[in-house]
C-alpha cells in the first residue's frame, strides 16, 4: 500500500515537472552520471540558458547502453544517446534509430573520424598501466610481453568494454597471427575479470604487474593522489583507440533541444570537464588546454582503429580465437 502510494507520488512528481519545462533525456553510462563524472557540471551549465530540464538516465556501461537501446527500440524516451564507442556504432546505426547530427568533424582526434550519425566527445588509447616501483622496464610490445614473465590482468571481452578493446587491439595489430599472440600471452595472464574496476583493483592490490586500462589512467593518480609511480607502457605495435560518441535519436520529441545539446558537446564548457572527470582526452580541446598531468602521459606515434564495420565483423571470430588460445 505504502509502496503504491510512493509510486503514485513519484509518477505525479514526474508529470508535474514535465509540464513546467521541456525535458531533454540523455541516455548514458553509469560512471558519466555519478558525482565524480562529468554529468553534474554539464547539467548545470546547459540548464543555465536552455530553458529546459536536462535529465541523464544511466544504463550500466557502454555495452549495457547498447542493449538497453535495442530492448527499447523506437519506444525509447531518450533524445540523445551518449557513450557508445566505435566497436558498437555499426550495430547502433543498423537500428535506424539515429538521425544525422550535421556537425563538423571534431578537430582534436589522433586520426580522422567522420560519421554522419555519431559525433565524438572524447577518446583515449588502451594501454597497459604499471607501477614503476614494481616493474622497472615494461615490455615494449605484445611479443616481448608474451615472452616475458610479466603478469597482467585483463578484462573479459564478453562483459567489458576495455576487454573488447584489447581483443580488437591484438586483432588490428596482428591480423591472422592474433591467435598465436594470445597463446603466447596465456601464461602472463593472472586472471580475466568481468569489468575494468575489478581488474584495476587487483592491479593496485599488487596481484599483477600490469593492467589493461587507458594511457590516461596515470593522470588520475597524479592529479587526485599526487602519486607519480603509475605509468602506461608504450607498445611498438601502436595503441588501439577508443572513441566515445553521442548520437541523436530520430524519434526525439525535442529535436531542437537535442540538436542544441549535440552542438553543446563541442563547447569548452562540456569539453573542459572531460579530462578530470572522465579521465579521457577531449574531442575538442578547450582554450584552457589540458591539465599539466596530461602533458606527461605517453603519446603513441601510431594509433590503431578498425572501422565500425570491420570491428563488428571481426569481434565474433576474434573472440573464438581468444577463447581457443586461453581455454587450455
Amino acid at each position: 500500500m505504502r509502496l503504491s502510494l510512493m509510486l503514485a507520488g513519484f509518477l505525479c512528481a514526474t508529470a508535474a515537472q514535465a509540464q513546467d519545462k521541456p525535458v531533454l533525456t540523455v541516455l548514458t553510462y553509469d560512471s558519466f552520471v555519478t558525482e565524480w563524472g562529468p554529468a553534474p557540471i554539464i547539467e548545470e551549465v546547459f540548464e543555465r540558458d536552455c530553458g529546459c530540464d536536462l535529465r541523464f538516465v544511466a544504463a550500466g556501461d557502454g555495452a549495457a547502453l547498447m542493449a538497453r537501446l535495442l530492448l527499447e527500440g523506437d519506444k525509447t524516451d531518450a533524445d540523445v544517446v551518449l557513450g557508445l564507442d566505435t566497436s558498437l556504432t555499426a550495430q547502433a546505426a543498423a537500428t535506424g534509430l539515429f538521425a544525422p547530427h550535421g556537425l563538423a568533424p571534431a578537430p582534436d582526434l589522433p586520426m580522422a573520424y567522420d560519421d554522419a550519425l555519431f559525433t565524438p566527445y572524447d577518446w583515449g588509447w588502451f594501454a597497459f598501466v604499471y607501477d614503476t616501483t614494481r616493474l622497472a622496464t615494461p615490455p615494449k610490445d605484445f611479443i616481448e610481453l608474451g615472452a616475458s614473465d610479466v603478469k597482467i590482468v585483463i578484462q573479459d571481452p564478453r562483459s567489458s568494454t576495455p576487454g573488447l578493446g584489447l581483443l580488437l587491439w591484438v586483432k588490428a595489430a596482428y591480423g591472422d597471427r592474433a591467435g598465436e599472440v594470445w597463446a603466447a600471452l596465456a601464461d602472463n595472464i593472472v586472471t580475466v575479470t568481468p569489468g575494468w574496476s575489478e581488474a584495476y583493483g587487483l592491479f593496485l592490490e599488487g596481484e599483477a604487474d600490469m593492467v589493461l586500462s587507458y594511457s590516461t589512467s596515470p593522470a588520475y593518480h597524479v592529479i587526485a593522489e599526487a602519486d607519480v609511480t603509475k605509468e602506461a607502457a608504450p607498445f611498438g605495435e601502436g595503441h588501439y583507440l577508443q572513441i566515445e560518441v553521442a548520437g541523436r535519436l530520430a524519434a526525439s520529441d525535442q529535436p531542437e533541444l537535442a540538436d542544441r545539446f549535440m552542438a553543446f558537446i563541442h563547447s569548452p564548457a562540456f569539453q573542459g570537464t572531460i579530462p578530470e572527470t572522465n579521465w579521457m582526452y577531449p574531442a575538442t580541446t578547450s582554450p584552457a588546454g589540458l591539465p599539466l598531468a596530461f602533458e606527461w602521459l605517453i603519446w603513441p606515434e601510431k594509433s590503431l582503429l578498425m572501422s565500425p564495420q570491420e570491428a563488428q565483423a571481426a569481434r565474433g571470430p576474434a573472440l573464438a580465437e581468444w577463447r581457443a588460445a586461453l581455454a587450455r
Binding site: E35, V57, A59, A64, A67, K75, S159, L202, R315
Partner: protein, 506 residues
C-alpha cells in the same frame, strides 16, 4: 494453504514470467552453441565439487560447535556465518588479501623460501565457493543438531552410547534429513555463480552459464539464446532438486519437551584436540579474509563522501523491506511444503534465476507502466526478496517438518487454527530458524544479490552500486571503505535478527 498458493504464484510469475518475457521479445528460444555446453559442463562440475566439499567440511565443524561450550562460542557461531552474506566483490578482495599473489600466505611461503601458490583457476573458484558456503552449511547442520530433542540425547547417555553409537543412531539420521537440502542449496548457489568464477577462474576455461547469459545479452544481443540458457539453468535446478529429494529421509525423532540439553561432550583429549583444531581452522579460514577487508577499509571510513552514507541508508531500507517480504513468502511456503513437497519446488526456483534474465524480463514487463529509474528501488526490493527466499525456506523447512510431524495432531485435537495456531504454536517453535532466516535475508539484500543494471539509477544507488561507482571512478580506497561499511552493516542486520530469534527460543 491459500497464502502458500499465492506465494507460489508470485515466485513462478517472477522467475518464469521474466524468462517468458525475454523469449517473447526474442520471438522464441535460440539454439545453444558448443561453447555454451562447455560452460554448462564447467558450471555443473565446479558446483558439484564446491557443494560436496562445503557440506563435507561443515559436518565436523558443526558437530564440534554443537558439543563443545566455551566463552565466546555464540560470537564465533555468528561471525563464522558472515562470509555467506558478503557481496562477491568484497569476498574476493578478502580472499585475495590472504591467498592472492601478494597475499599473506604467499608472503609467508616466500619468506620460508617456498614457491608461491596461485589461487587463480578452478581451484580458486572452489576455494571461494567453500569460503562462501561453508558458513551456510555449518549453520544449517547446527540447526539440525540443535533440533534433536534433548530427551533422545539423554537416553543415549543413560544407555552409555559411545560417540560412534550416537553418530549411528542420532546424528546420521539427522544428517540424512538435513544434508541433502543444504547440499542442494549450495549446489544451486554455485550453479549461478558469475563474478567469483570469472575473477578467480583465471580465464575463459572457467566460463559459467551465467557468464554465457551475460555474453548473449551484451556481446551478441541474442535474447533468444539468453532465454534458452536461462531455461537450461532452471532445468538443472529441477534435476538437482529431484536428486536431493530422493536422498533426503525424514529423521523421525518425535517431539521432545524442549528441556535444555544437558551437554555431555565426549571426553578424552584426542577428541577435544580434534574438535579444537577443526573449529580453529574453520574460524581462521573464514574470519581472516574478512578481517583483511575490514582492516583495509576502516581507516578511510570517516572520509567517505555523503553520497555513500545516503546509499547505505537506502540499502538499509531496501534490506528491511525485502526481509519482510521474504518472510511473508517463506513462512507460508515452509508450512505448506512440510505437507506437500511441490511448494518446496516453487521456493527453491529463484536460486537459479539469472539476475540478468530477471532484470531484463522485469524491464520488458514494466516499462509500459513507468520510467524504469522510478522503479529502481521497488524492483530491487522485490528481486532481493525473491532471491533470498530459497535460503529462508531452506532454514525454515526442517523445523517446519518437525513441527508438522510432532504437533499437527495435537493442534488439530485442540482445534487450534488460524492466527491462534500461528501465535501459540508456529511462531514460538520456529523462532530460531525464523530469526536466522530474517538475518540471512536482510544481509543478503544489503549485498544486492542481483545487479539490475537496466533499472539502476546512480542518483538513488544502493550501497553495493555506490561501491561499484567508486571503483569505476578510480577511488579504490573509498571503495575499500565502502566495502567494510557494507560488511559491518550486513553483519549487524544479520546478528540482530539472529539474536532476536535465539532469545525468543529460550
Amino acid at each position: 494453504m491459500l497464502p502458500a498458493r499465492l506465494a507460489t504464484l508470485a515466485v513462478l510469475a517472477l522467475v518464469l514470467g521474466t524468462l517468458a518475457a525475454v523469449a517473447w521479445q526474442a520471438g522464441g528460444l535460440g539454439a545453444l552453441q558448443a561453447a555454451d555446453l562447455a560452460a554448462a559442463r564447467f558450471t555443473v562440475v565446479q558446483a558439484l565439487i564446491s557443494a560436496t566439499l562445503s557440506v563435507a567440511l561443515a559436518v565436523p565443524v558443526a558437530r564440534a560447535l554443537h558439543r563443545r561450550r566455551f566463552p565466546g562460542r555464540g560470537a564465533l557461531v555468528s561471525l563464522m556465518g558472515a562470509p555467506f552474506i558478503l557481496p562477491a566483490v568484497v569476498a574476493v578482495m578478502g580472499l585475495l588479501a590472504v591467498f592472492g599473489r601478494a597475499g599473506v600466505v604467499n608472503d609467508a611461503l616466500a619468506a620460508l623460501g617456498q614457491p608461491r601458490i596461485s589461487i587463480y583457476g578452478a581451484g580458486g573458484v572452489v576455494l571461494a565457493h567453500v569460503f562462501f558456503n561453508l558458513p551456510l552449511a555449518t549453520r544449517l547442520l547446527l540447526h539440525g543438531w540443535q533440533a534433536i530433542p534433548s530427551e533422545r540425547m539423554r537416553l543415549a547417555q543413560s544407555l552409555g552410547f559411545s560417540p560412534k553409537a550416537t553418530l549411528r543412531h542420532l546424528e546420521l539420521p539427522m544428517l540424512r534429513a538435513t544434508l541433502p537440502g543444504a547440499w542442494l542449496a549450495i549446489f544451486l548457489v554455485c550453479l549461478a555463480s558469475f563474478a567469483v568464477a570469472l575473477t578467480l577462474g583465471g580465464g575463459p576455461a572457467a566460463t559459467t552459464i551465467e557468464l554465457a547469459i551475460y555474453q548473449a545479452f551484451r556481446f551478441d544481443f541474442d535474447l533468444a539464446r539468453a532465454a534458452s540458457l536461462g531455461l537450461l539453468q532452471v532445468a538443472l535446478c529441477v534435476a538437482a532438486f529431484a536428486v536431493s529429494a530422493r536422498i533426503a529421509l525424514p529423521q523421525g525423532f518425535g517431539a521432545g519437551l524442549d528441556r535444555r540439553a544437558v551437554l555431555a561432550p565426549p571426553l578424552g583429549w584426542v577428541l577435544r584436540v580434534q574438535d579444537g583444531v577443526v573449529m580453529g581452522l574453520a574460524a581462521a579460514f573464514l574470519i581472516v579474509p574478512m578481517a583483511a577487508v575490514l582492516l583495509r577499509g576502516l581507516p578511510a571510513l570517516s572520509g567517505l563522501p555523503v553520497s555513500v552514507w545516503a546509499a547505505a541508508g537506502r540499502s538499509l531500507v531496501v534490506a528491511l523491506a525485502a526481509t519482510a517480504l521474504t518472510l511473508l513468502l517463506a513462512l507460508p511456503l515452509a508450512l505448506a511444503a512440510a505437507r506437500q513437497r511441490r511448494f518446496e519446488w516453487a521456493g527453491t526456483l529463484p536460486l537459479v534465476a539469472s539476475p540478468l534474465v530477471l532484470g531484463t524480463g522485469l524491464f520488458l514487463l514494466l516499462r509500459g507502466f513507468a520510467a524504469p529509474a522510478t522503479l529502481a528501488l521497488p524492483v530491487t526490493v522485490a528481486v532481493n526478496a525473491a532471491l533470498a527466499l530459497p535460503f529462508a525456506l531452506r532454514t525454515l523447512l526442517p523445523a517446519a517438518r518437525t513441527l508438522q510431524a510432532d504437533y499437527d495432531r495435537l493442534a488439530a485435537s485442540l482445534g487450534l487454527s488460524g492466527f491462534a495456531r500461528l501465535r501459540l504454536l508456529t511462531l514460538p517453535r520456529l523462532a530460531r530458524p525464523l530469526g536466522f532466516a530474517a538475518g540471512l535475508s536482510a544481509a543478503l539484500s544489503m549485498g544486492d544479490l542481483g545487479v539490475i543494471a537496466l533499472f539502476a539509477d546512480p542518483t538513488q544507488a544502493t550501497l553495493p552500486l555506490q561501491l561499484y561507482a567508486l571503483m569505476g571512478a578510480y577511488r579504490m580506497a573509498d571503495a575499500a571503505a565502502a566495502a567494510s561499511l557494507l560488511m559491518v552493516l550486513s553483519f549487524a542486520l544479520f546478528w540482530a535478527f539472529d539474536r532476536l530469534g535465539s532469545h525468543a527460543d529460550a
